[in-house]
């Protein structure tokens, strides 16, 4: 029972949110069961779950990116820009170098990490050496990244055969298998036609790697030390500058996963503006998980499945508009995140009875 306690409060919050959201939907003239139906579809159908996992995957990477920076006392608002630079680097390699699979895939992932890491490292460098505040630097670097991406799509590897601004298709050897294809190999039918792909496994792996990095390596120890107390770190011969840059390089490199998921796993090309603010949602994902890498897996799944559930409702009914679906998502997350309030209310009740 005690082990389940940390999950109990978010669950209570979720149930309260379900109730309030249902009231809102009924007030909007919807049938009372629509919310439950959409959640049923999300969690218990191959199609819904597949999409929920697909949406969750990039959020794991951006959540980890924000969390690593936060552990070093830095606010990374630049995950959005970093993931675009990673995408450009990946696309460049994957549309120019025709290589066999065992070389192609690691090389492309490495290129993406290099791109993202470079863009993150740039922010870290400016913070560490020039003293510019990382929030301003990363916001500005985002704008530069958007423009560089647009330039690359239009002039470096544009696909001339389509009207939309998008890149050439990447070579076959760079494409990652979908989970539905993999399960078909062993004769199972899962995740129907959804784009969830093996990047999901990379995401889980990365969460554990980041956890090991932070809590079981000397570098991670130093990053956390700087995050809590830069002055004490200096007195104990831990370089604040080096660790600031390191944390930002890692944060940037982690966003490469978003590019891998989208380009190698799903679209097979770089489309202008493909990221639906994954970088910014990552901030909320990391906050909800209190920068705990393993917690980020759960919080990213919450965001991903909510995104899918409300999207389903938009399909099912015309009364649920995009705006309403945002309100519902916000309520859900708000209630799950307010576990501290709920636990406080409960503990106060408990005291009164004594």
């Amino acid at each position: 029972m005690n082990r389940l306690k940390p999950l109990l409060f978010p669950f209570c919050g979720f149930m309260i949110a379900l109730f309030i959201c249902t009231l809102i939907l009924v007030a909007a003239g919807e049938r009372y069961s629509i919310l439950l139906e959409s959640f049923y579809n999300t969690f218990f159908t191959h199609f819904g779950l597949g999409y929920a996992l697909f949406y969750s995957t990039p959020l794991v990477f951006t959540g980890l990116s924000v969390a690593v920076a936060a552990r070093c006392g830095l606010f990374n608002i630049g995950a959005e820009g970093q993931l675009y630079i990673a995408s450009v680097a990946l696309t460049f390699v994957a549309t120019h170098l025709l290589l066999p699979i065992p070389l192609a895939i690691p090389l492309a992932i490495f290129a993406a990490m290099l791109g993202g890491g470079f863009w993150g490292g740039l922010a870290g460098f400016l913070k560490a050496r020039m003293g510019s505040h990382e929030v301003i630097v990363t916001i500005l670097l985002n704008f530069i990244a958007y423009s560089l991406t647009d330039y690359s799509i239009l002039y470096l590897f544009r696909n001339p055969e389509v009207q939309n601004p998008e890149s050439l298709e990447i070579f076959q050897s760079y494409r990652l298998p979908l989970l539905s294809d993999l399960s078909a190999l062993v004769g199972l039918e899962t995740f129907s036609t959804t784009p969830v792909n093996v990047t999901l496994f990379f995401a889980v792996l990365c969460a554990f790697l980041v956890h090991f990095f932070l809590f079981s390596t000397e570098k991670g120890f130093e990053v956390r030390a700087v995050g809590f107390n830069p002055k004490a770190s200096k007195f104990n011969h831990i370089s604040v500058e080096k660790n600031t840059i390191l944390a930002f390089v890692i944060a940037g490199a982690l966003t490469a996963g978003v590019a891998v998921n989208e380009i190698m796993g799903h679209q097979h090309k770089l489309i202008q503006g493909f990221s639906v603010e994954y970088g910014f949602t990552g901030i909320a994902v990391a906050l909800l998980a209190r920068n705990n890498p393993i917690g980020i897996l759960f919080s990213a799944f919450l965001f991903g499945s909510l995104h899918n559930a409300t999207r389903e409702m938009e399909f099912m009914s015309e009364k649920v508009t995009k705006e309403l679906s945002f309100i519902l998502q916000a309520l859900m997350i708000g209630f799950v995140a307010s576990e501290r309030v709920i636990s406080e209310v409960l503990s106060r009740r408990g005291k009164k009875h004594v």
Binding site: T217, E218, R224, A225, F228, K231, A232, K234, F235, H237
Partner: protein, 491 residues
């Protein structure tokens, strides 16, 4: 004298910690009553219970003969009690008079500053204060801010003043004027309760003293009947250990640390050396370059001119000296409060291969190391997974001293090693420094406690405005002479 407050069997538990158990004692009307004990002995807790900040678990409090249960400080204030906390509760950007009336402004929609100021001026006259009511708090010294806190209580018609460690942040001059003020207040009929761990203050100013240890009252006695030794024994519950004998054969050893005409920030042309097997004390009033000296030796700064030598080699910029250091500010520099005890135990040692299992840090090796340090340096509670900020100041400091000793460096720089630390820990740290010296290590002791410097050092150097004002063999130095050097007289 009539009894004003009586505690009967008051107990309070926080989680598993018994902060107070079975506390019983009385405070007399119009007396200056001291409450003394080591850090974590429950002194502040019992007063916070009285003040309505914590509810009691069991027991009774009598105020003017009647049982009371203050639900909040507001309750207590209305009955004439007032408390000055260790950390002041003032708004730095507001003016003195604004801070004084804050929370108990006169009735009505508009404030009338001129009326309030003239009322406060009368109050100042009555109690002999002389504060500039129009000054902004952040521009004032700590001593003056404390007076504002006291005046604030008098404005609320407090008859009983509780002061929690009032002298922790004051200079010696400010301490004197504080006690002079308290004495006049007492003569005007106020009751004053003084929470402190400084024996001298208790002995020279209070009439009664309640000694607390481990959450319980040891005894309440008239101060007259006590000496410094007997009071210290009551506080720590045993006789004080004498410092271990020192061996002095310094003269033939060569310097481990040497500064030659070093200038850096506040430091000007500073030269001195520390030999192996020697303790060199740096005395002086805070702010005369001690912090800069610590920065320099920690490698946070580098000499602007002059030479810094360690073990015969001149220091190079960007390379830290392999010395051990107890930094001056425990919370900001020595440790990371949010880390666990074991993480703090390896802070600065994290790159050492002894904590590694292949490439990863080994949790068991770290825990074993931390447990050993905690055992050897008596850090309590013996829980290496506890969050560091939860330890008392003395235990935090013992862990830092333990960690630095584990570095096994030939030189230890100890900056204010016993600041804010209780008697038991002071004793422990002092004898540890002596034993390091006897092992042949060079020790630089920077401290603003002259007693400490004189008791431990072989040589004393007085720092004034970043330079050496005078130097003397400790056994030949007098407090008077050093005191003169500290204020700028030259040798």
């Amino acid at each position: 004298m009539a009894e004003l407050i009586r505690f009967e069997n008051v107990s309070k538990t926080f989680g598993e910690v018994k902060a107070n158990h079975g506390v019983s004692f009385s405070i007399h009307q119009g007396s200056l009553h001291g409450i003394v004990g080591e850090n974590g002995a429950g002194k502040s807790t019992i007063m916070k219970i009285l003040y309505g900040m914590y509810p009691v678990d069991s027991g009774e409090i009598f105020f003017q003969g009647k049982p009371v249960h203050f639900k909040s400080p507001l309750d207590a204030i209305q009955r004439g009690l007032g408390m000055v906390h260790q950390h002041f509760m003032l708004v730095p950007t507001l003016k003195v008079w604004e801070n004084i009336v804050l929370g108990s402004e006169p009735e009505g929609i508009r404030l009338h500053p001129s009326e309030i100021i003239s009322e406060l001026s009368l109050l100042q006259k009555e109690f002999g204060f002389n504060l500039d009511l129009e000054a902004t708090i952040e521009d004032l010294s700590v001593g003056i801010q404390q007076q504002v806190e006291i005046l604030k209580l008098l404005y609320r018609k407090a008859e009983t003043l509780i002061l929690d460690e009032p002298t922790a942040v004051l200079t010696p001059q400010e301490v004197d004027s504080l006690f002079a003020k308290l004495k006049t207040l007492k003569q005007q009929g106020k009751t004053i309760v003084l929470i402190t761990h400084k024996l001298k203050e208790i002995l020279s100013w209070t009439e009664f003293v309640t000694v607390m240890r481990h959450g319980a009252v040891v005894e309440t006695v008239e101060t007259k009947s006590l000496t410094e030794n007997s009071l210290a024994e009551k506080i720590i519950g045993r006789k004080q250990k004498p410092l271990p004998k020192t061996q002095t054969n310094v003269s033939d050893s060569h310097p481990i640390l040497e500064l030659k005409n070093v200038s850096y920030d506040k430091l000007k042309n500073l030269s001195f050396s520390v030999k192996k097997g020697e303790i060199v004390g740096i005395a002086g009033i805070d702010g005369n370059g001690q912090a800069e000296l610590a920065d320099l030796l920690a490698g946070v700064g580098f000499p602007e001119s002059g030479e810094l030598c360690y073990d015969g080699k001149t220091a190079v910029a960007g390379k830290t000296l392999p010395l051990a250091m107890i930094p001056p500010d425990r919370h900001a520099q020595a440790a990371i409060l949010e880390f666990t005890v074991e993480e703090n135990a390896i802070l600065g040692l994290q790159r050492s291969p002894r904590f590694r299992e292949k490439v990863l840090l080994s949790k068991t090796k770290i825990s074993d190391f931390a447990k050993n340090v905690m055992e050897a340096f008596d850090v309590r509670p013996r829980n290496c997974k506890a969050i560091f900020s939860g330890l008392s100041g003395g235990n935090q400091q013992k862990l830092v001293v333990g960690r630095e000793s584990e570095k096994n460096a030939a030189c230890l720089v100890a900056c204010h090693p016993t600041r804010g630390v209780d008697i038991g820990a002071i004793e422990f740290i002092h004898s540890h420094l002596i034993s390091l010296k006897n092992q042949g290590k060079g020790i630089l002791l920077i401290s603003s406690e002259l007693d400490e410097i004189l008791a431990l050092s072989d040589r004393v150097i007085v720092l004034y405005h970043g330079s050496v004002a005078g130097e003397k063999i400790a056994s030949e130095a007098t407090e008077r002479e050093l005191g003169l050097w500290m204020t700028g007289a030259t040798a």
